[in-house]
Symmetry: C2
Subunit: 368 residues, 2 copies
Amino acid sequence: MSEALRVTYELTCRPGEDPEDKARGVALEQSAELPSRCIPAHVYDEVVPRIEALEPREDGRYHLVLAFPEAITGYEPTQLLNNLFGNISLKSGIRLTDIQWTPALLRALGGPRYGIAGVRGLLGAGERALTSTALKPLGLDTATLAGYCADFARGGIDLIKDDHGLCDQASSPFRERLHACQRTVDEANAATGRASLYLPNVTAPRGELEARLDAAQEAGCKAVLICPFLTGLDALIWARERYDLALMAHPAFAGSVAGAEHGLDPALLLGEITRLFGADMVVYTNAEGRFPTYDQPLCERINDRLRRPLDGIRPALPTPGGGVDAARAGYWLERYGRDTVLLIGGSLYAQGDLTAAAQRLQAVVEGH
Amino acid sequence: MSEALRVTYELTCRPGEDPEDKARGVALEQSAELPSRCIPAHVYDEVVPRIEALEPREDGRYHLVLAFPEAITGYEPTQLLNNLFGNISLKSGIRLTDIQWTPALLRALGGPRYGIAGVRGLLGAGERALTSTALKPLGLDTATLAGYCADFARGGIDLIKDDHGLCDQASSPFRERLHACQRTVDEANAATGRASLYLPNVTAPRGELEARLDAAQEAGCKAVLICPFLTGLDALIWARERYDLALMAHPAFAGSVAGAEHGLDPALLLGEITRLFGADMVVYTNAEGRFPTYDQPLCERINDRLRRPLDGIRPALPTPGGGVDAARAGYWLERYGRDTVLLIGGSLYAQGDLTAAAQRLQAVVEGH
C-alpha cells in the first residue's frame, strides 16, 4: 500500500480569492487536472491529494498540507517535480515550503553517493571544515587558469572548481583546461602531500554532458561541478549512477524558482531537493555577500536541510559562496560549523598572491 | 568577429539601491563574476557586457540593455541560459524581457524542425486552425484512455496528447499506453480518412527519455509531448536532432521561472526561447481559463514571439489551453488567428459523448 507524500504550501489569496477554492484547485491541478465532476470516483480517491490541513496564519496567508498518493509520481524524479509544482507554478500566490517524504520516494531519489563523509574521505580532510575556490574570470586562457589552479593547490585549497561560466569557450576549451588543471593539481599534491581536487564544470547539453563526465573521470578527477537548474535536476541522478565522481551543484538559474510569495522555498529547493537528487555539495549564495535575498536565517535553513537526518539519505555539504570575505572565515565557521565548504573567490583574487592567500585561509579553517 | 547579443532587463531598485550599480552588477555577475579591479583589462573588454542603455521609466523601474560578446556563451544552449539569467536569478528585481539574437546564436539553437508548415503537413490540415486535447485523468487504466483516444480521433481532433501528468504509473504504464493509443488512432484514421496524431508524454529522466522517444518513433508516432522545464530545455534540441517527431512543449514548472518583478518574461521564455530550443508547438495557459496571471495581452505577446519572423528559424504553433471553453473556440480563433492549436480538455470531457463533442468543435474550427 503506497504511503502519502505530505506537501506543505503557503497560499497568498488575492482579494476575493477563497482559500478553500484555492486549496482544492491546487490539489486538482497537481493530479487529475479536471473538474471534480469529470473524475470517476475510484480515480478521485486514488489520485487527488487529500487536504489534511488548511489554516489561516497571522500574516493573512494560509498554511495548506496536501497528502498526495505517492504512486502518482510513478516514482520518477521528473514527474515528482511536476506533482510538486508543475501546473501551479503558472499560477500565483502558492509557495512550496515543506515535504514529508515517503520511504519509497527517498529510495527512488537516493541522495548523495559520497555525502559529507565521502567527500572528506576523498580529501583526506578528517573532521575539519573545507575550502573551495573558483578559477576565473571567463576569458583567461588555459595556461593562466591552470596557473591559478596550481597556486591554489599549493596553498592547500581543498576543492578548486571551474567558475560555473567556464564551459567550452574558445578562450579555454574544456578538454584542454581539464587536462591542464588536473595535471597541476596532481603536481601540487605530490609536492604538498595534500589531496586537493580540481572540479571541472561539466554542465552542457545532454550528449556533451556525458562526454565531459567521461573525460573528467578518465582524466583522474574525483569530483565535478554541475548546474542542475540549467541541465535539469535529473542530470545529478544520471551522474551519480554512472560515475565515480563527487558532485558539486551550483544554483545558477535556480533563484528565480524561489520567490517570496510564489515559488519554491530556497531551503527546500537547494537544501533538500538538490541533495536528494544526488548533490554531495551544494553551492548557495551566502548572506552578507552579493545576494541580498539570502539572509542568514535562510542560509541556516539551507544548511539544516542539507545535513539533517533523512532516512537512508547521506547528508550533503553546504557550500556558501557568492562574495564571502576570506577575512571572515572564522565568523562563518562559528555559525555554520565544520561540516561546511567555504567557497571564496574574489576575496582571494583581490589579495594578489594566490598561494599566500590560500595558506592564510587554510590556517584559519584548519585551526577552527 | 563575433557580434553582440543584446539583452534587455527591467530593473526594480530597492530603496537606496543605485540603478547604475545594479546595472554594472548584472553585467559583471553574468560574465566575469569578479570585481572590475580583479579582471585583466584585455579580458574585461572581451567578456563583460557593455551597458548600451540605462533609462528610467515612468513606473520607477529602469530599462537596461546589455551588449554581451556572444562568444562567452560558447554557443552552447546551457551556457546561454546561464549568461542570460544564471547568477542574477538569485538576486531580486531583475526581469529579462527581450533578446536581440545574433545570427550565430540563432543557428546554434536552430528552432523548430517542423514548424507550423511541417505540423500542418503531418496532419494534412491545409491552412485551417488546429485542435488538441488531453487524455486524462491520471489514474485511469490504459484501455479507458485508449478508448478516449479513439473517441477523439473519430471526432476529428488533430493532436491527441497524453495529459502531461501521465508517464509510467502502474495505472497506465508508458509502453502499454503508447501502443494502445497509437493503434486506436491508426484505426480511427483508417475509418475517417483523417490524420489525427497521438502524442505520448516522453518526459522522463535522461536515459529513460531517450528510450521513450525511441519507443514512440518505433510505434509510428509523428509527434510527442515534452515538459522541457522538468527535463531541461536542451531535451528539445536533443529530440529534434535525433528523431522524426514533431515536439509539443508543455510549460509545467516554467511559471516558477517567470515572474512579474523578477524572472523571465513568460512571452520571452515560452514564446521565443522554447521555440528556439526546438518546440514545434508550445502549450501555454490561456487567458480566462484557470490561470489568471496569463491575461490576453500576454497571450498575444506569446503568440507573436512564437510566430514572428526570426532569421532562419521556423515559426511555432501557439497551443493555448488550461481551461479553454469549447463553446468559445470561434472567439479565440478570431483573436489568435488560424495558426493556432486550440487545446481543450475538461470542456470536452464535460460534454460526455467525446466523439460528438469533438465533432462540434471541429466544425467550428474548420469552418473558421
